[in-house]
Structures are given as C-alpha cells and as structure tokens.
C-alpha cells in the first residue's frame, strides 16, 4: 500500500473515532433540555432607519463597539462609516478595488478594514492627524479572494480567504504571524470568540473549524466528518453546534423556506438567531426551540449581511438593494 493510501486510511479511521467519541458524549438533546421552556412570543422589529448612499450591492457591514457607528462595503467601490442614529455618513472612503467582499470595524473604533477580489486586506486609519482617511497598510499574501476579516486589536487582524487559509496578521509590520491551514475549500467567513482566544472559520468544504489563535491549531471540526457527497444536495442551513460536547445540536429549518442563508447574528442573550436569506427577508429563530418567531421584510433584494449591535439594542441589515436598514 502506498504512503498516501496508508495516510488516507489513517485519516478515515481517526474520523470514525471522532464520530464515536462524539456519540459517547450525547446523553441528551437540546429538545429534551429545552422541553419545559416555552417558545418566545412573536418578535416584531420595525425598520427605524434606512441608510441610503451606496450605488450598488452591499456585501458586508460591521457595527462599531459603540453601538452607534457602523461600516458598510459595497461594490460601488466605497466603504461608508455611518452614524446609524442620524443616518449621517461620517466617512465615505473610496477603494482602490471595487470588488470588495468584506469589511470590519476595529474594537477601538480607530481603524476599519476591507478586502475582496484584490486578495488583500486594506487597513484604513479613521483617526489620522489631518482628518483624512488614508490606507494605513495593505496586507498582501493571500493567493485567493479575501472573504472576511476581523480585528483582534489595532495591531492584529484575522482574515479568511478563497485560498483555503485564514491568517493572523501583524498590522504594524504587515506580515503574517500565523497561517491557519487545513480547510479543503474556500474559507468564506470567520467569527472571533469574545475573549479573543479562538476563532471559527466556515468554508466551502462544508465544515466549520475552531482554531486556537495563539497555538495556531485546529481544535475541532464541525460538519465535515459525514459523507461529503450527501451534503451537496442540502440547502444552506443554519445549524447550532455545542463546542464543549463537540456535537451538532439542532438545525434551524422550516419546510416553507426554500432558499439559502447568507448571514446570521444572535441577539444579546443568544435566545434569538437572526438570519438573512436569499428571499430578501430575515427570519428570526428561537434558538432553543428551533421555531421561527419573526420575519423582517423590507429589502428589495437579497439580504447579504446582518449584525446586532454590542448592546443588543439594534439589528442592521445590508442588502443587494444597496440599502442598510436598522431594526428594533
């Protein structure tokens, strides 16, 4: 048997062991644990503001930690920083490349970042001395598109790419500190844990991986140990995974929903899951009961991005209809 064949056998064997280890931990389900809890009442959020100004599809948005400002990225080639309360545009930043796919606001509020088909992550300083917003760094090394980016601080940012890797960058020096490799498909999104120790990446290999930022290792993989060929026929779904028990807990689906999920955000407590869909709506799910408890309708095209402010007071949606809406 060739070395490759042997390694493949070893990998399959390990995957089977992981599946067995997971099964051994499964002594209850979310349905059982939440059986005595009632579904939350109907949630009705209204559009409070519409942020108008982009001239093309909006691909991404991210709230500032102050729960007032937010940044959006559109393929009209602009990054706009909005005061969501007054709807004023605080900054309108023209981009070198209009093929932007992601944007992020640094926790400090000092920087924003974006990237896309230019394979780079560009960092902009919002608080420059002369008041002009300029490119501070261009982080270039990915060999594929930039799908997502999230700041850890003003000096570190994590990016995910179509080249199947995620990277932790040192913004000061513009160099890669750690490369997180292991996905077998384009990395499409990432989310950082509140304590900044871990992040989760989602990829086109139908898996989500939990990474230890400092160790550079993949601690857990979700969704990929099943037979991949079956997953091809499943629509984009929302699933909840339990990290400590290493289990898939529940799937948020409804026979009346025939389209894919583009984005999702939990409410402050996590009791609600707001998910943006291709059918122009946002569905609000009761996280514990997996029942739909609300719908946000108002966009005229696909909802491409969604975010809940850090104080939990407002939800922002961005759409291919070129508008952002604030709901609560």
């Amino acid at each position: 048997m060739g070395e490759m064949e042997q390694l493949r056998k070893e990998a399959d064997n390990l995957k089977d062991q992981i599946t067995a280890a997971r099964k051994a931990m499964q002594d209850t389900t979310l349905q059982e644990a939440a059986a005595s809890i009632n579904v939350v009442g109907r949630v009705q959020l209204k559009t409070r503001k519409t942020l108008r100004g982009h001239l093309a599809k909006i691909y991404a948005m991210h709230w500032s930690t102050d729960s007032k400002l937010c940044v959006s990225a559109s393929q009209d080639g602009k990054l706009i920083v909005w005061d969501s309360i007054t709807t004023n545009k605080v900054n309108a930043i023209p981009l070198k490349s209009s093929w932007v796919m992601t944007c992020a606001y640094a926790p400090s509020g000092n920087l924003v970042a974006c990237g896309g088909l230019d394979n780079m992550c560009s960092i902009y300083n919002l608080k420059g001395k002369d008041g002009n917003v300029k490119v501070m760094r261009e982080l270039a090394a990915h060999t594929g598109y930039l799908s997502c980016c999230r700041f850890l601080s003003d000096s570190e940012i994590i990016t995910s790419s179509g080249d199947c890797t995620c990277v932790l960058w040192d913004i000061e020096t513009g160099t890669q500190k750690t490369i997180f490799a292991g996905h077998q498909g384009d990395c499409m999104s990432l989310a950082v844990s509140p304590d900044f120790k871990f992040f989760i990446s989602g990829a086109c290999d139908f898996t989500a991986k939990l990474w230890d930022i400092r160790e550079g290792t993949c601690r857990q993989t979700f969704g990929g140990h099943e037979n991949l060929s079956r997953i091809n026929y499943i629509l984009d779904l929302c699933k909840l995974y339990d990290l400590r028990a290493d289990q898939e807990l529940i799937t948020y689906q409804d026979s009346s929903i025939m389209c894919g999920v583009t984005s999702l955000a939990p409410s402050l407590s996590g009791r609600l899951l707001l998910a943006g869909y291709d059918d122009f709506n946002v569905n609000i799910w009761d996280t514990l009961k997996a029942e739909r408890v609300g719908v946000l309708a108002g966009h005229d095209n696909r909802v491409s991005c969604i975010g809940v402010s850090s104080d939990g007071m407002a939800c922002c949606t961005g759409s291919w209809d070129s508008f952002l809406k604030i709901w609560n």
């Binding site: 990998a11 995957k15 644990a33 939350v40 949630v43 292991g182 289990q247 996280t287």
Partner: protein
C-alpha cells in the same frame, strides 16, 4: 483531499489526532449550561423586553422632523 500531497496529508492526520484528543464533556452538562446561560441573559435582551427599548435612540423623539 484529492489534490493533496503526502506532507499535507500528514498534517491532516496530525490535526485529526489532535482533534480526537479534545476533552469532550457530556451533553447533559453542556446543553443544560447553554440553556441556563441563554435563559439568564433573556431579561437583559432588548429584543425580548420592550421596557429596555423605552429609550430607543433610533426612534424619533418628536412627532415631526425637519428635513
């Protein structure tokens, strides 16, 4: 994985060994903790408590706004 070479496959096997070693906890403990954590947070969740939205910065204070 079909396009991977031997070194990449070796890394994948190492990664799988590391992932297998993860200290998993029983669902009965983790799911109960998760449900409790969420339920504890519900009273502070603005989307689930109208009283918390009384001072909603996104709602116009007066009846008319001057454009």
């Amino acid at each position: 994985m079909d396009e991977w070479d031997v070194p990449q496959m070796k890394k994948e096997v190492e990664s799988l060994k590391y992932q297998l070693a993860f200290k998993r906890e029983k669902s009965s403990k983790t799911v109960t903790d998760l449900v409790k954590w969420i339920e504890d947070g519900v009273p502070e969740d603005p989307f689930l408590n109208p009283e918390l939205m009384k001072n909603n910065p996104w709602v116009e204070k007066g009846k008319c706004i001057i454009l």
